[in-house]
Subunit: 373 residues, 2 copies
């Protein structure tokens, strides 16, 4: 992997760059869509490439349990399995496994830490996490080494070391303990990766929750190691202000000559504030999930297609939009398909929202280069 | 509409023809896919055209209740609403309304006539049928005139007169009464249509259940009228033998110079036996429904993609198949997507099965022309 900075804004930390991978270039700042099971929900691989989505995020946890990373390896890797020619990134599985243990971040924030997992995590030790597969009840041990092996089998262009996702509501001592173990796990992951790099890049994941001294410790510890880039993970705040404070503080401690990625954030208002702080890529399932719930992105914010006001609007979602949906489909037809709960509706909406994200990032890159951001 | 016979088999009643419509040619024998709500489930309109599906069947009953045929008329008709450039056919709504009254044919056959409707049909009179909309509870009156008006609003190339679908388990007198009323309704439909033909063609629907003398009466009554073609409807038997007996008896009573259509039959074994009897077109939701349930058509019959044997098969559904799915997707990937219940699976499977039907009909036409059928 090779990272090239094309333009550094004179007005902010924003920069325009290119990440060169074995499967082509990822332009930054760039949006990364989530295709958990090796598909963007409701879209075929060729359509996703046609929209121009340069980097796609798949989840090792899900692929490990179904179809099994051994199956994907036999297929020649995830690119070959899903017939994707463009870059892929996989995570370590840690996020999902610890969501099972502590409840999802969302549940946990809502319940103020009272909600726990569903019991499928059996044991968390220095070695790793033992959990029960939701598919067949078998026991699965996820460690830094097995996570990296799974990601070698998947063969994504960018991979992530095994880490703990501690809950947002966690005591100071517990968070310190978690961070130290995460650092040990990340170094074990890096060692396992470097034994057989296979042209994959590995991003270290900065943790420390919303504790600034721990975030600093994490940056100091991990940026000394030969990671190819850095992701910011863990709890990044319970609202946008906490997030912005955290990134403003953390981002300057990351090396400028390596790409960085913010895990799990992809709403447009956040992107517009985070890019000037120097964030390169973002992943989120929000644009695709919103699409399936009938929320369609527009330059003025978005619209809820199920609202009756769209029933007789024989115009595209957004005038001038060049996405395949807007080229062929009216708001009235989409409204009808959503009302009739037709599967076609979900594809058409997903195409539009993803295309919108791709075009928005294009515009942002242009604005940076013209010093308008 | 203009019907042209290109080749009449010397070995059977099979023939190859072309139906010319305002939206292009329908080659016969031809398979007609069902897109109830103005979409083939899980596919975009452009993909359906790309597959080469020349005629698509939409249901007036569903479109009347959602989005409303007035909305479709305002859009400029169904072609414009759904952005389809190729031919469409709509039914009268009678089939669905009488399924509400008597239970579906399938339910009724299974229950031997004991299962009745759900009470949403309020009144059946000489005028027509009064029923309650499942969407908003409003009362809707479907008569020959309102059905034709709805189909004028939709603007399909081929439309169907309002008819009764009597239950399979019906007494002789009741069937006679139903048939006589259906004939009166069809003539009223034809009169309403001919007041304002709008370049649409209307097929008369032959009824009479499995009673040969009533089928003869229906053919004699309707073939005297200026219908553009004929559909065979009503109960066509409870198994394939009854169906074949019925078509062998009925088809010769239809004029050879007009196209005919068999309503609601589309399984391949039946098609292979019905085409030599001289049937031109067939509609069925079976290929698309089977696809969504993971049954994929092949030349040797088909396969159930969810079976574990496909887990590691990195080959297309059928070697040599030129469909977009087989060009890009392996059995193993499809198996995985079905296991993971990904929406993408349903589109990929539907594409293959529809393409299979289109190609099968192409081969059948070729075989007829070469006197091999």
């Amino acid at each position: 992997m090779h990272f090239e900075i094309l333009y550094q804004s004179s007005k902010s930390k924003a920069r325009v760059g290119r990440i060169h991978t074995p499967h082509g270039i990822i332009q930054t700042p760039g949006f990364v869509a989530v295709g958990t099971n090796g598909t963007i929900k409701s879209l075929s691989t060729d359509l996703v490439e046609k929209i121009g989505l340069e980097l796609m995020f798949c989840n090792t946890y899900h692929l490990l349990l179904q179809p099994g990373t051994d199956v994907v390896r036999e297929a020649g890797g995830l690119h070959s399995f899903m017939n994707r020619s463009m870059p892929l990134i996989t995570d370590s599985g840690g996020f999902q496994v610890f969501s099972l243990a502590y409840g999802s971040v969302h549940d946990e924030l809502k319940s103020r830490g009272k909600k726990k997992g569903d019991g499928s995590v059996l044991k968390i030790t220095e070695d790793g996490v033992l959990f029960r597969s939701y598919r067949d009840g078998s026991k699965v041990l996820l460690t830094p080494e097995t996570s990296v092996q799974a990601q070698k089998d998947l063969g994504a262009d960018i991979i992530i070391p095994f880490d703990e996702l501690p809950p947002y509501h966690i005591g100071e001592e517990a968070l310190k303990f978690s961070l130290a173990r995460t650092h040990r796990w990340e170094l074990r992951s890096l060692a396992a990766h470097l034994k057989e790099p296979k042209r994959q890049a590995m991003y270290g994941v900065i943790h420390g929750g919303i504790d600034q001294s721990l975030r600093r410790l994490s940056c100091e510890t991990l940026t000394k190691e030969p990671f190819d880039g850095f992701a910011i993970g863990g709890s990044v705040g319970k609202n946008r202000q906490e997030l912005l404070d955290l990134i403003s503080f953390t981002r300057p401690m990351l090396p400028d000559d390596k790409p960085n990625h913010l895990l799990g954030i992809g709403d447009l208002p956040s992107l517009h504030e985070l890019i000037p702080l120097g964030i390169d890529t973002f992943d989120s399932s929000y644009p695709t999930k919103a699409a399936r719930h009938g929320f369609l992105f527009t330059k003025t914010g978005g619209l809820k297609i199920l609202q009756t006001c769209h029933r007789r609007l024989f115009v595209p979602i957004e005038p001038g939009c060049t996405c395949p949906t807007c080229q062929t489909t009216s708001l009235a037809y989409l409204h009808h398909l959503f009302k009739a709960k037709e599967l076609t509706a979900y594809s058409l909406a997903t195409i539009h929202n993803l295309h919108f994200m791709v075009r928005t990032m294009e515009e942002i890159r242009k604005n940076i280069c013209e010093d308008r951001l």
